[in-house]
């Protein structure tokens, strides 16, 4: 099977046609095209069916999409019945979504962002941003390469391969790290901004922070952080306009 590197590059745009009907489906079909090219010469009918299947509904975390892509591509070459491949795709959506979201969006990203904010505040400046980009992209690209390789190697047994891999263990470990890093960064950021405003200004900002945190938890999704911020700014401008 050729076209692995092209498929890997195309996976970077797997969400390029994100929509509410097929979600990542078309992006997966786009990434699958180089992998399925050899099938065209071997079995053109099967190739046509494989292309149709590759662009059907699919959703998961984009960084782990290579697992599903590789597994289904191999299954197509192994002549696994189409309905079985469709069932594999459906079955992979939830675990790859949950694992990937926990690993990246709720784990690695907040951990690195927390460390970067702390580094900026402690004087690293723009260099901290460069390190953040380099570190994150090294990890996610390495994960992407591993995911596609593992999917291609495992085929229909990809579920077992995921279970035995480093991913579930990493998910369990990254959560506490992310919590510590964000927890470390927030008070440092507060100090960075509020130091020059004296006790009155700093106390006022911290009171707003406490009120915002309490109100957002009390009202839930109806009062998001952004809405609370805009409401508070609007009220400030209104009262200042009234001369208060």
């Amino acid at each position: 099977m050729t076209g692995r590197w092209r498929a890997l590059l195309r996976l970077l745009a797997v969400q390029g046609t994100w929509n509410y009907e097929r979600m990542l489906g078309v992006g997966m079909g786009y990434a699958a095209e180089p992998l399925l090219e050899d099938l065209k010469t071997v079995d053109p009918v099967r190739h046509g069916e494989a292309v149709v299947r590759s662009a059907e509904f699919f959703n998961c975390n984009p960084n782990l999409a290579g697992l599903a892509l590789g597994a289904t591509a191999r299954a197509e070459y192994e002549d696994v019945p189409g309905p079985q491949i469709a069932r594999l795709r459906t079955a992979l959506c939830s675990p790859l979504g949950a694992l990937g979201d926990d690993l990246f969006w709720a784990g690695l990203v907040p951990a690195l962002v927390g460390l970067t904010i702390a580094a900026v505040v402690l004087g690293a400046g723009w260099r901290a941003i460069v390190w953040f980009l380099v570190l994150y992209n090294l990890i996610r690209l390495a994960t992407g390469v591993w995911a596609l390789r593992t999917g291609l190697a495992a085929g229909m047994r990809v579920g077992a391969a995921i279970g035995a891999s480093w991913v579930p263990r990493a998910v369990a470990r990254i959560g506490p790290v992310a919590g510590a890093c964000v927890g470390f960064a927030v008070p440092l950021a507060a100090g960075w901004y509020l130091r020059g405003f004296g006790w009155g200004g700093a106390g006022g900002a911290l009171a707003i922070a406490a009120t915002g945190a309490a109100m957002s938890r009390w009202f839930g999704p109806s009062l998001t952080s952004v809405r609370f911020a805009l409401l508070a700014m609007g009220l400030l401008i209104f009262f200042r306009g009234m001369g208060l």
């Binding site: 980009l133 950021a189 507060a190 609370f228």
Partner: protein, 226 residues
């Protein structure tokens, strides 16, 4: 807001387009994080300090977002670019609040435009349903490139309109010093609330919560000692 030349405006719109694409479509390299978008925008306008200051506050808001599945979330990339352009050249204590406020409005608008693009993508797929059912690889490719182009156009228009609004704000809105400082304090306070909310919600009640508290204690100690 400092006066921006045509080249600077062009670079800002280009950077806004790149970060808008990065959020969902390609390459998701975290260029769209406010920290990154803000620092580069600050470099473009010649005020990296403004980029970092605006970027960190909007990053605190972004920490409250978990971009999973079909959830609707603000697009902080172009918003940060515009916020930095608005803040550049002014002392951050005076410019930060208004910039963050404008950035939050634009981020919300950006979140709405993402939904519009997703609906347009779905319509384009419906129009090519027959070609997809026939297994035409060319149809998949065309859909993909059109989807990327739609998202890129969204980012460019959002950034350009944001810069226009920022220019109008800077020209016609005059804030007294007290109001400007007050807005900055509100921006920082609400940003801290957003980050705290996001952190507590993600932490749940397990080991992560304990580590969050430990990190917060260490951060507070260091902030006090500095």
């Amino acid at each position: 807001m400092t006066a921006l030349g045509a080249l600077t405006i062009g670079l800002l719109v280009l950077w806004g387009t790149v970060v808008a694409l990065d959020l969902v479509s390609v390459p998701q390299a975290m260029l769209s994080r406010p920290l990154v978008a803000g620092t580069v925008a600050g470099w473009i306008v010649g005020d990296v300090e403004a980029g970092l200051r605006v970027g960190v506050v909007l990053e605190l808001f972004a920490l409250d977002v978990l971009p999973i599945g079909a959830v609707r979330y603000p697009d902080y990339g172009p918003a940060t670019v515009v916020g930095v352009a608005l803040s550049a050249g002014a002392p951050w204590e005076l410019g930060l609040g208004l910039s963050v406020g404008a950035g939050l409005i634009l981020a919300s608008l950006g979140g709405w435009t993402l939904m519009v693009v997703r609906r347009w993508n779905a319509r384009a797929i419906q129009r090519r349903a027959a070609a997809l059912a026939a297994g035409e690889s060319g149809a998949i490719r065309r859909l993909q490139y059109a989807g990327l182009a739609r998202d890129g156009a969204r980012g460019a228009v959002l950034t350009a309109l944001g810069l226009l609004a920022a220019w109008a704000l800077a020209r016609w809105l005059t804030l007294d010093r007290g109001t400007a400082v007050g807005l900055t304090l509100v921006a920082v306070g609400t940003g801290l609330a957003a980050a705290a909310n996001g952190a507590v919600r993600s932490a749940g009640r397990g080991a992560r919560l304990k580590w969050l508290v430990a990190g917060a204690l260490a951060g507070t100690l260091l902030a006090v000692l500095r």
